[in-house]
């Protein structure tokens, strides 16, 4: 027998052995998982007949943020002893990201949603983080048998999910049955875009150039910002896309430099080569005090100061809502204290408190309902939370919270620290919608 043949046989035998071991060991230890749920879900915690799932990107640079959101939901459920009214629930945490992309993945969102649809005892979904993923999941689970699966997002900020935003068919197209099943507690992007423009005006900026990452989130907030900025009388020198896979952006900034901007607004997420984008901004246009650099909440990520290094120093990053570490209302303070104690952490990520709140919104609707999905869906809207974690607020008839404050952070010594809060007037937020 030739060496080649021997080699192939050995390889084949090895591969078979690995597979056989895997198959043989499938036996007794399985079965704990809840049937029908996506492959990407964890094992359940708690016990009971019903299920609540969370859906976040658990891989990539957003992992710390997502993990805290999951923990916040668990914390609130634990406080309720896994009982919402008369329903005892289990909780699973599902993942909508892939490691290879390091961020959310459309096919994974689709698969997750289709699986949710097949689980009859699923009471609701807390998620998603990315609006793009919610755009996929919401319409699929809206068509679930027995009524749309209730979904409450702590972090989706894209306007069109709940209100008209200029794209044809929004928001009805996310709810093909005509009955809405989606609410959120995050501050929509039009508030953030308006606050960003307002903040630049406060800093006496007159000429601004906008760059977006060409993804749904970045493009959306860029458009909101441009409208608000124009309304405030700022000169928008341009709104162009950056190509995430380009090795560098020096030529791009040299083209922008000839327009003499006083500020650059980055609308997008940092994992789209944001580090390089910031580095090249500084190397071509000068440091962030010379030409101000403002970025949307996709840059509110520990990767920003890490990837951009010293170039990030002094850049501003906004984020919808208030800094959870600085919540001043009693419920909020209690939540932060309990969270720090339960998980031994000091710093709460941006959406941790919102995740706890999202669960409470869902629980409140479940409590008031008759137990059917359609009834829970109906009660998601027009709820009042005078003593919510994130403050006193209402959920309006389209599923948006009545809070519109936006936090401005600055990068200092490699950390992202809150500077101030901007409350854009409602009229400006409406103007940002277009």
């Amino acid at each position: 027998m030739s060496m080649r043949k021997l080699g192939s046989i050995l390889l084949l035998a090895g591969a078979t052995a690995v597979l056989a071991t895997a198959a043989a060991s499938a036996g007794p230890l399985s079965g704990k998982r809840i049937a029908g749920l996506p492959n990407t879900c964890s094992k359940p915690v708690g016990h009971g007949k019903y299920v609540i799932a969370s859906d976040f990107p658990l891989q990539g640079s957003l992992r710390p943020l997502s993990v805290q959101m999951v923990e916040a939901v668990k914390l609130e459920l634990k406080k309720m002893h896994y009982k919402i009214g008369k329903y005892s629930v289990q909780f699973v945490s599902c993942d909508d990201s892939t490691a290879a992309k390091g961020s959310w993945d459309p096919q994974t969102c689709t698969n997750n949603a289709n699986s949710y649809k097949s689980v009859t005892n699923l009471l609701g979904v807390i998620g998603t983080y990315n609006s793009g993923c919610a755009e996929i999941i919401a319409p699929i689970i809206n068509r679930a048998p027995g009524g749309g699966i209730p979904m409450v997002s702590p972090a989706n900020t894209y306007v069109g999910l709940t209100k008209k935003s200029g794209v044809a068919g929004e928001p009805q197209k996310y709810f093909p049955t005509g009955k809405r099943n989606y609410a959120r507690v995050a501050v929509p992007d039009n508030f953030q875009g308006a606050a960003d423009a307002l903040y630049l005006k406060h800093r006496h900026i007159k000429r601004v150039y906008v760059l977006n990452d060409a993804e749904a989130y970045g493009l959306g907030i860029a458009n909101n910002f441009v409208r608000a900025a124009k309304k405030l009388g700022l000169t928008v020198l341009g709104n162009s896309k950056w190509d995430a896979s380009q090795p560098n952006y020096q030529s791009l900034y040299q083209g922008i430099a000839s327009k003499h901007p006083q500020a650059i607004f980055l609308a997008g997420i940092v994992s789209n080569n944001g580090g390089q984008l910031i580095k090249d901004k500084v190397s071509v246009l000068g440091n962030n005090t010379k030409v101000l650099l403002l970025a949307s909440d996709g840059f509110n990520d520990s990767a920003t100061p890490k990837d951009a290094g010293n170039s990030a120093a002094g850049m501003f990053i906004t984020i919808g809502g208030s800094d959870p570490n600085k919540l001043s209302n009693p419920t909020g303070r209690a939540f932060v204290k309990a969270f720090r104690k339960a998980y031994h952490v000091k710093h709460l990520e941006a959406y941790t408190a919102y995740a706890g709140q999202a669960l409470l919104v869902l629980a409140h609707a479940i409590n008031k309902s008759d137990g059917s999905r359609l009834s829970i869906d109906k009660h998601l809207f027009k709820q009042k939370f005078p003593k919510g974690i994130i403050g006193s607020f209402k959920i309006d008839s389209s599923g948006d919270p009545s809070l519109g404050g936006v936090t401005v952070d600055v990068v200092k010594h490699g950390n992202i620290k809150a500077v101030t809060t901007v409350n854009p007037p409602l009229s400006l937020a409406k103007a940002a919608l277009g």
Binding site: A22, T40, P139, R143, G169, P176
Partner: protein, 400 residues
Amino acid sequence: MRRPRLPALPAATRTPLARLLVAACFCALLIYPWIYSKYLTTTLTQWLPDTSTAFVILAFTVMGLGLNFVVGYAGLLDLGYVAFFAAGAYIAGFLASEQFANAGSVVFGGTVLPGTPGIHLSPWLVILIAAIFTALLGIVIGIPTLRLRGDYLAIVTLGFGEIIPQFVRNGDNLGGFNLTNGSFGMNGIDGLGFGNRVHHAIHALPANFLNELDSRWYYWTALALVVVTIVSSILLRDSRLGRAWIAIREDEDAAAAMGVPLMRTKTLSYAIGAFFGGAAGALITLQAGATSPDAFSLQVSIFVLSMVILGGIGNVWGVALGGILLAYVNYKGLFAAGNTFNSTFGTNVDIPEYSYLIYGVAIVLFMLVRPEGLIPSARRRAELHEEEEEENLVPESSTA
């Protein structure tokens, strides 16, 4: 290299045993949704895909079979098959959603209520139109490029595979017109179904597949498409056109000298491959209810190409099996193996984190062990065999 004349080879399906095997496989696939729900409580669900996942697996298998017309039969390396997937997906989006709400309400057999804004054609019609349009696109792409030879063609197809998603991504502002919604993608696309009118006439046929059994209906639709693709493959392979493809694959110059019209034959293979790619793209989109430019990366082209080559290039059964296996590994197998691994050894290895690594190792090992694929076509097997014999005379002779 001069080859001895190959004997006429019987197709695999012509032996009774093979026929029986194919029939048994088909029956098993047909009743799979019941098998799945019956074994729901056992450990098998860890390893078996649910019907929605099985749907995706079958739909990708259709793409593999479609690409087999181009790569397997005509021997044209296509690295941009995802372009056809994208075209099918967006045509489905245009014809079955509220994308063109400005055009008023056109509900023709669609699965929505009358009066819904936008164009809503019957989903079956949508799949057909998407397939035909994609085939035309295949011709349009093919005419300027199919003159190129070998790997020059491959790189040009790769180019189209990159251009078309980028066009879709930037298609929200084509001279001010929003065709594709750009990065936002299209959402709220209608599901499959027979439409209200048909449903009222024949109650057994649901107006839409939104009830709890819907994933079964989707699954069966995909299975039907697989069957149609396999039957077309066999019929075309054994036709005059199929022989022309194989002649081109084996020796383009000789085929041309024998009077095979190269351009037309190649373009047809491209069009037919595109047809099934478009159909599968439309089907996947109608099931997902959404599509976005992110879904069309080079990885998809490579994934589909791997199905063809791993399965056994040019052999429809091999490609079908390769497609099902590879898609299974991608959408279920790796997760299942990972979960099992973790629960067996009490570890917490994040398998998706290593999925591409495992996938890469697996296809390298597989190709090293079985370069001719799972079920090689009889013709290729003969060729390989012949080369091995020659190899004994002159070690490492030049590649064919």
